[in-house]
Amino acid sequence: MADEMLATPAGERIPTVIADDVHIVYRVNAGGGGRGSATAALSRILRRDQGQSRGVRKVHAVRGVTFTAYRGEAIGLIGTNGSGKSTLLRAIAGLLPTESGRVYTDGQPSLLGVNAALMNDLTGERNVILGGLAMGMSREEIRERYQDIVDFSGINEKGDFITLPMRTYSSGMAARLRFSIAAAKNHDVLMIDEALATGDRRFQIRSERRIRELRKQAGTVFLVSHSNKSIRDTCDRVLWLEKGELLMDGPTDEVIRAYEKETGK
């Protein structure tokens, strides 16, 4: 199913995301780590050595990544833990500033996920509204889709849970509700960070179907996953990141085969 997405009907390929030599550096206040005792911190301040070494450590997470994504593509990001996949996604979404280099996008790419906006002490009902507003939906849009979101999550299948605080949900239920809220909005450029592996088997099938729908509506989809199967099922192109560098960029089969050979699977 992947191949027919490669070219637009007109035959011309329209770029939606262009990454031009992107570097991303995190600055971490390494408080508590290593020689992080109070006296060590004090002596560091008193010594007043060059700003950088004063407890601030730099983590160069993405190093010079360049690629162009086109409309209709579904691109998988693979790589071992800490290789910079999620960081790169956030930079594409404009959520993390780049150290140097630029990301050009068509419209506003969005990350699939609203976890951070939801509050465990509020009812599921209020979280649906809050999450929708946080993603930039209008009150009317949320009202229209409210029932769909609740039905999709299946939260109410075992009683009226949507009017209870989210902290009373099981972890699976909470994950299902989060995915349902996040997947309620249509996006131009959609980025999914390992969202497929939530909930029970029945919900996984339902969410995979929903992602395929979102993919059809979205211009371009990025998927970060450690499951080579879900990458094979959804993506037609794969970027392989390792230590923040783009190691390989090509058709799914080729890259995954090389990746599996390298990681010994």
Binding site: T98, Y104, A116, L133, A134, S138, E245, M248
Partner: protein, 309 residues
């Protein structure tokens, strides 16, 4: 940092036929792509923020509700907390320290309670502002919205908190003999000005706190100093009678003192205009406009940098 230049990728298949291999920047320009995460212009920014007004309001209400959702008495604490606060201050300053110099009890108690509530409004806006970005990095790194939504939302939460306190305040004021009059309506413009001032201050603190989270540890001391210097529990002109006049003037024109005096003047019958510095409304307006506008612009200037490390 190692500078291994790994431009582009080791493409294993023939590179996709990019139309005439334009450099990225030109290709982007040719198709009208824009830089992701660039800071919008000031007017655009205001428009985006206005577009998010429902989120800002919902977020502030959600925070307010979540605050007491685990307590047995629930939302009753919204009113009980300020009431207990006022009681503690009355016990210490009214009964034990007798700080009511120059005021009868019927003026001093409402004077004190008003001062505590109005100052708390500014204090908690500042404290919430410091953590607005640094305490919500998850949100900032996951979703796209004008970042000013957070500090604005937090000071809106404090405004709603203050409205609960006003219920207590009205009860106290009436209990000590000031009955409702038309002058009570002056509370609305006074608190509106204070809200604008607080929001500006919260925006400034949010940018500072995003860079230096340590401010959250420092600010309680700054705020306590400000509290004691603003005449929350004593009358500045009476307390500083024997000192040079300029000291009292500076203290009285500080924004916290101005807004407290405006609300006291509006609510308490016997607290007449003689207790207020000259041009008090103009001072309140000036503080609100200057800090409000400056805070907004200052926050906006760093918009694209929030959320980094």
């Amino acid at each position: 940092m190692s500078e291994t230049t790994h431009h582009g990728a080791v493409a294993t298949s023939p590179a996709p036929p990019v139309e005439d291999d334009l450099p990225p920047a030109q290709l982007a320009a040719a198709h009208g792509l824009t830089v992701s995460g660039a800071r919008p212009g000031l007017a655009d920014y205001v428009r985006q923020l206005w577009g998010r007004r429902h989120f800002i309001l919902a977020f502030s209400q959600a925070k307010l509700t979540a605050q007491y959702s685990k307590a047995k008495l629930g939302q009753l604490w919204q009113v009980a907390t300020p009431l207990l606060n006022a009681l503690v201050y009355f016990l210490i300053f009214g009964l034990i320290l007798q700080a009511n110099r120059g005021m009868s009890t019927s003026v001093y108690v409402p004077f004190l309670v008003t001062g505590v509530f109005v100052f708390t409004f500014t204090q908690s806006s500042v404290m919430a502002g410091v953590r607005a970005i640094s305490g919500n990095l998850g949100l900032v790194r996951a979703l796209h919205f004008p970042r000013a939504s957070l500090p604005v939302s937090f000071s809106l939460q404090q405004l709603q908190q203050l409205l609960f306190s006003m219920v207590v305040l009205v009860a106290v004021v009436v209990a000590f003999g000031s009955l409702p009059t038309w002058s009570w309506l002056l509370v609305v413009p006074a608190l509106a000005l204070q809200f604008v001032f607080n929001t500006g201050l919260a925006l400034i603190m949010a940018r500072l706190g995003a860079r230096t989270p340590d401010l959250a540890q420092l600010m309680p001391f700054v705020m306590r100093t400000w509290l004691y210097a603003s005449g929350v529990m004593f009358s500045i002109p009476i307390m500083l009678r024997d000192r040079p006049a300029w000291i009292a003037d500076i203290l009285m024109y500080n924004p916290a003192a101005i807004y407290m005096d405006l609300v006291r003047f509006a609510l308490i019958d016997e607290y007449g205009s003689s207790n207020l510095p000259a041009h008090v409304w103009a001072a309140g307006l000036a503080w609100a406009l200057v800090v409000g506008v400056a805070g907004f612009v200052y926050f906006w200037k760093a918009e694209e940098r929030y959320g980094r490390g």
